[in-house]
Symmetry: C2
Subunit: 107 residues, 2 copies
DNA sequence: TCCATAGTTCCAATATTATCGAACAACTGA
DNA sequence: TCAGTTGTTCGATAATATTGGAACTATGGA
């Protein structure tokens, strides 16, 4: 068993871009994913699709990863996702907190 | 002289949308406009175009207005723009602050 | 009244993005 | 080794955004 699930590329904190982050979160599907991840700490892709096609979700997860918002690691046959909270707080202090606070108000 | 420059539509705070705001700020041109406005408090459209065509800027200002970020009022032949800081802070506490703080770091 | 200024609106061209089916790849368990 | 599960990648299509020229409107000054 040679082939291992190759890990995804996750940008280092220094490469985080404010515009890219804001863009990633301006999509309702992606914003919902991030909000859910804030509640559960960790979740597979399947747990986060709202019945949407896998290929669509795969696209959204990539956008979230590229923005530095989400970290995805392979665990068995599934991919576990989590927020990169500490690094986001380091690079954009207070930003994610303000966005997530907004969500909990709307429920 | 009957015709007066008809005022622009500015959404009330209750109609502000997080996604719309994030989207508006995910564009480099618009983000720059907002960052400049944070410094000068008030500026005409002409002062904020970076040599870009007026029609393009007019589009961007409309997006910013629709998101509730910017207020535009006619003054003489010019349009003066300002951030809707208080209302934004009321609706999205800490959000604009976090975004603007990010900018000043990058200079 | 005429002209210059500041922006808007209209329009078309271009570029980006979202969506999703189909084929593919990695892993687990039988 | 085969089958089932999970998710990615590829490719096409549709929807949406950005850009900027041209015509138009409002305003103020000469």
């Amino acid at each position: 068993m040679i082939p291992t699930m190759r890990p995804f590329k996750h940008p280092p904190v220094n490469d985080f871009s404010l515009e890219r982050l804001l863009y990633a979160l301006s999509d309702p599907v992606r914003l919902e994913v991030v909000q859910r991840l804030a509640e559960v700490e960790e979740a597979s892709c399947g747990e986060l699709d709202g019945g949407r096609p896998k290929s669509s979700m795969s696209h959204h997860f990539r956008v979230l990863r590229d923005a530095g918002l989400v970290c995805t690691k392979g665990v068995g046959t599934t991919h576990m996702n989590s927020l990169r909270r500490a690094e986001l707080e380091e690079r954009f202090p207070g930003l994610l907190t303000a966005i997530l606070a907004q969500h909990s108000l709307q429920k």
